[in-house]
Amino acid sequence: MNRRFGARWLLWCALLLFSGATEAAARSYPMDTMAPRSDLAELIQSVYVQVTLWDLLVLVVVIVALFLAIFWFSTRFGEPGEEPVQFHSHMGLEVAWTAGPILILVLITVPTVRAVFNTQPYHWPKEALTVRVIAHQWWWEFRYPSLGAQTANEVHIPADRMIHFELESADVIHSFWMPALGGKRDVVPGQINQITLVAKVPGEYYGQCAEFCGASHANMRFRVFVDTAEGFQRWVADQLKPPVMPASGLASEGARIYQNAPCAICHRVKGISGFSKQYEGGFRGPDLTHFAGRSTLAAGVLDNTPDNLATWIQDPQTVKPGALMPRLGLKGHELTALVAYLESLK
């Protein structure tokens, strides 16, 4: 356990008050579950509000009854007074407060059961876009089987079209959660779960793994970009283009370093490095063919800037403890060359 805990405790208190004040002002809540942006999320929101209102009604009844009882019947300690009436049962009252909750529960159960059957359709229209989501220990891999595109940690989906996410896991149980676009669904190894939704409002939405999956469970985030129809077409076209092969300069030097460094064992850049045959280990890294096109790095932990990329390559463990990417020991010029090359992979 961290030995410096005692000495720095006071520092945290000072920091708390300062950061608390500034943070409260920030309006944006990217992971807000109450901002539905898809049909699935709106359905959930409607049931959410109904049940919450019924709950608040019951809560108010209990609070009023309790505080009335306390203030009317509490006495100063030891104050003499006549013995209270020893009534201890009243059939009408007991039947009432059994029937009441049952009635409320029926009113809650009807929309719930209807929503349950709507959110898990058995079959979906053919023209729905299938997106295979493969969860690894601490990053997400997305594949578009019908379009042939493949990306990591950032998924692009067209607005106003049925999307059918097929969730598979490559190791342990994860949970694919996009608060704005609908609830979460566990990604269980050995079975393919599914989420089917129609995103309505284009924009960038945050997502995070919700089922505890090991050391870096907190660093397993992803972004969902809901594009307009033509925006999505443009993105797919970019993804299908072959990777940029820099002719000269720092980037080409970086390309050479990339090829003989161990990067090629786990990562794939289409056309340059496939997975080397002799490597049987099950692990694979994200596909880097269009790495520069992504706005975040290391599963949404850092923004995709050259110096962030440099810190990540130099020592992945500080950014994502337990990450399976080894420390390559690249320094100085070689490192900047490799970073330049990777940043050129638009």
Binding site: N2, P30, V47
Partner: protein, 820 residues
């Protein structure tokens, strides 16, 4: 009790009087065992609290580096496991229930005093075993629920999960045994006149809790055994590659998990139902309704476990069913809350600290219960599960519910346990600090949950709108820490104070206040007859002309009569064997982590202690006059204990057999059920049936007092048992060597070997038991009066035979049936 409370003049010798260290190590008096439980769980309360403060400090600011990722994971896992298994359950069941059950039902001690001591020592060794991880920075780190295949050896190679797995198995043994013990005590040892409908409500709560314990812990044991085999022998119970599924662990765990949260909730309901009437000077409102609500909660709690798994995709039909049953369970809870308010309504409330905590319980538990109803509906649960909303829900139910009830119970029963009052002024300070700290820490978690902060993340980025609330919560968490320090000061000061308190400071309503406080070692001088609910209140204020009212005016007989009463009471002697049993279990646990032969050493210790306990008392198996007087319609406690144990074994084998049948259809390759040898197992079935026949003939012989034939039949039964075991060993070796059916690479193999192997182990234990019986019969120690011992061994043996009948049909004869 480190600081021995000084003897107060004129106080009759209390249960704390005699016994130095040896007295405490070998005690079997339920009050002293309860004090041991109380001390150890208070210690773990502060350990759990320390872990909670570390977790909160790490989350105070975004991207904090106070704790590394795996240290944080260890802290939140241990906070959960410690608070549930080492604080709330031991405090409610081991400390308060253990101390109060005999006193409230008018009994001298629990049904099985030595098992009571044994379950404490097994608990403390299990808790220390799991916390040993502090020494090697290897505490369990996969969450208190330890979801499967993250806990597989491949994904958590260290010994963290081994400590958690074996530690929980040991704690499970302790809780199961104490559940069995209290169930038989409540059903069988109530004083004359105290029918079920006249028991105090805390007794109803404990009766239902023990039923839940007996029928829930087997499911956890099965899940943990599968995990143990996965990690140590290389089977694949939760690995998808071989056709298995990690969802099986979630099902087995939550079949135990939801009854478990009611095992923690119902004693708290019982405590509140005791405190409110006393400080409102009014009887509990709707006694029958409250008892009915408890029974309904217990029954429904077995049908709701699916609401923990809505997001794993069980399918709409299962989601809808579990959602309906989960909402149904809110109805009995509603009945209880409204009945409590009706109890307080119209009463003359004395606002002592215990009453403050009880009233705060009603409010906080209602908030927790209602936020629970929200994620009982699957669509909402898809947004809320695994977010901080759930953390807020269960902290409102566990801390706001159980901990408030436990703190109220401390202030209410402290004079009964130690003979001193806890200071009201300090209590008031502690109460207000706890309420403010508690609500400040956990109410914002509802906002964090709605704002999408997931659970169990060791850090979070800035700019997500979570930072302010997290910092605010951490500050309030330290406030809670201060409140608990005040509580500790209050406890220690009261132990050192001289202030003598009468037997009944609160003018209470139930029997435990009719004996001295602290009560004498033998509890009641003479057995009380009860004439209605709130027995002590009737003794004090009931009309004295009612028929059958005993002559002595008040409940307490005169001192002289007390001395005479004291003499004829026979208290069982202290014994070393419970400590030996627990040590044996601990050695087996350590052996599993180190070398196999240490496990056999531990098993030897276990066997010695069991046989020792068996023959420690001359009257083993005899029904003494004292024990017969209070039995429930003449039923012996030991027989009822065995039947309750067989009941929990039913659920144990049900989980094993369902796993076998579920996995039978999912076998991917290699040998399957077709390789099973029917002629051999048919012969084994005949052997086992004949051994059952010999068993009952032995019993008939013992009851006739025919020593020669009873020895012969007993040896015959044990012999046939051995033949059955031989058949099984031969069958397993043939399957392994000839058919190459191995546990490691074949799903059918592992489920088959585990199911039939566990049954084989039960047969082996039965054979050892029968040989011990046979030798005892040979040496003349089993007279006719001790026929009950043979009858109980017979019950166990016939149960093992019944399970084989089910296994023989489902596994062997139905081998050709593909899909289950």
């Amino acid at each position: 009790m480190a600081a021995q409370p000084k003897e107060i003049a004129g106080q009759r010798p209390s249960y704390l009087a005699e016994g130095g260290l040896v007295g405490w190590l070998t005690t079997i008096d339920h009050k002293r065992v309860a004090v041991l439980y109380g001390l150890s769980s208070l210690f773990f309360l502060f350990v759990g609290g320390f872990e909670a403060l570390l977790v909160r400090t790490q989350l105070a600011v975004p991207n904090n580096h106070l704790l590394s990722a795996d240290t944080y994971n260890q802290m939140f896992t241990m906070h959960g496991t410690t608070m549930i298994f080492m604080v709330i359950m031991p405090l409610e069941i081991g400390f308060f229930a253990n101390f109060l059950i005999p006193l409230m039902i008018g009994a001298r001690d629990v049904a099985f005093p030595r098992i009571n001591a044994l379950s404490f020592w097994v608990f403390i060794f299990g808790a220390l075993f799991m916390n040993a991880g502090w020494l090697w920075h290897a505490l369990p780190d996969a969450g208190w629920f330890g979801y499967a295949n993250l806990t597989e050896r491949y994904y958590s190679p260290g010994m963290n999960i081994d400590l958690w797995d074996i530690g929980l198995l040991i704690l499970g043994v302790s809780t199961l045994l104490s559940g069995l013990n209290f169930f038989v005590t409540i059903v069988n040892m109530r004083c004359p006149g105290m029918t079920f409908m006249r028991m105090p409500m805390f007794m109803w709560a404990m009766l239902v809790t023990t039923v839940l314990i007996l029928l829930a812990f087997p499911a956890l044991t099965v899940g943990l055994i599968f995990l143990f085999l996965d990690r140590f022998i290389g089977t694949h119970f939760y690995v998808a590659a071989l056709g298995a599924t990690p969802i099986l662990w979630q099902h087995l765990f939550w079949i135990f998990g939801h009854p478990e949260v009611y095992i923690m909730a119902l004693p708290a309901f019982g405590i509140i139902s005791e405190i409110l009437p006393v400080f409102s000077r009014k009887p509990l409102f709707g006694y029958a309704g409250m008892a009915y609500a408890l029974v309904l909660i217990a029954f429904l709690s077995y049908g709701v476990w699916g609401h923990h798994m809505f997001s794993t995709g069980m399918g709409p039909v299962a989601d809808a069913t579990f959602s309906i049953t989960s909402m149904l369970i809110a109805v009995p809870t509603g009945i209880k809350i409204f009945s409590w308010i009706a109890t307080v309504w119209g009463g003359k409330l004395r606002m002592t600290t215990a009453m403050y905590f009880a009233l705060a319980f009603i409010l906080e538990f209602t908030i927790g219960g209602l936020s629970g109803v929200m994620h009982a509906s699957p669509p909402i649960d898809l947004q809320q599960t695994d977010s901080y909303f759930i953390v807020a829900h269960f902290h409102y139910v566990l801390f706001g519910g159980m901990m408030f009830a436990i703190l109220g119970a401390f202030f209410y029963w402290w004079p009964k346990i130690t003979g001193r009052l806890l200071d009201e002024k300090l209590g008031r300070w502690q109460f207000w600090l706890t309420v403010i700290g508690f609500n400040g820490t956990f109410f914002p978690m509802h906002f964090l949950g709605v704002l999408g902060m997931p659970r169990r993340i060791y850090t979070y980025p800035a700019g997500m709108g979570w930072t302010f609330w997290n910092s605010f919560e951490t500050a309030c968490a330290y406030l809670l820490g201060v409140a608990f320090l005040i509580f500790l000061v209050n406890l220690v000061r009261s132990l050192r104070s001289e202030q003598a308190v009468g037997d009944d400071p609160w003018d209470a309503r139930t029997l435990e206040w009719s004996v001295g406080s602290p009560p004498p070692a033998h509890n009641f001088d003479d057995i009380v007859t009860v004439r209605g609910r709130d027995a002590f209140w009737l003794m004090k204020y009931g009309s004295h002309d009612a028929p059958g009212h005993d002559s002595s005016a008040g409940a307490r007989a005169s001192a002289a009569h007390a001395e005479a009463g004291h003499a004829h009471v026979h208290l069982p002697a202290p014994s070393w064997y419970p400590l030996l049993f627990a040590a044996g279990l601990l050695v087996m646990g350590v052996g599993a982590m180190t070398w196999l032969r240490v496990v056999f050493l531990g098993a030897g210790l276990l066997l010695v202690s069991i046989v020792g306990m068996g023959f420690e008392y001359a009257t083993y198996g005899q029904e003494t006059e004292e024990s017969r007087a209070t039995f429930f319609r003449g039923v012996d406690s030991r027989k009822m204990g065995m039947w309750a144990f067989l009941g929990s074994e039913c659920v144990f084998f049900a989980c094993l057999i369902s796993t076998y049948m579920v996995y039978k259809a999912r076998n991917l390759g290699g040998p399957d059920a077709a390789v099973l040898d029917i002629p051999l197992t048919s012969f084994s079935t005949f052997v086992l049936l004949t051994s059952s026949l010999l068993m009952v003939l032995a019993l008939a012989a013992i009851q006739r007092g025919d020593r020669k034939w009873s020895a012969i039949w007993l040896f015959g039964t044990a012999g046939f048992g051995l033949v059955f075991l031989g058949g099984q060993v031969y069958e397993f070796s043939k399957l392994y060597l000839v058919e190459h059916l191995a546990m490691q690479d074949n799903l059918f193999g592992q489920t088959f070997y585990t199911l039939v192997g566990t049954h084989g182990t039960h047969v082996a234990i039965g054979v050892v038991w029968l040989f011990v019986m046979a030798f005892a019969a040979l040496k003349g120690k089993l007279q006719q009066s001790r026929s009950l011992a043979v009858e109980i061994a017979g019950l166990y043996w016939h149960f093992v035979d019944i399970v084989w009948i089910v296994i023989f049909t489902l596994v062997y004869l139905m081998r050709s049936i593909k899909e289950a």
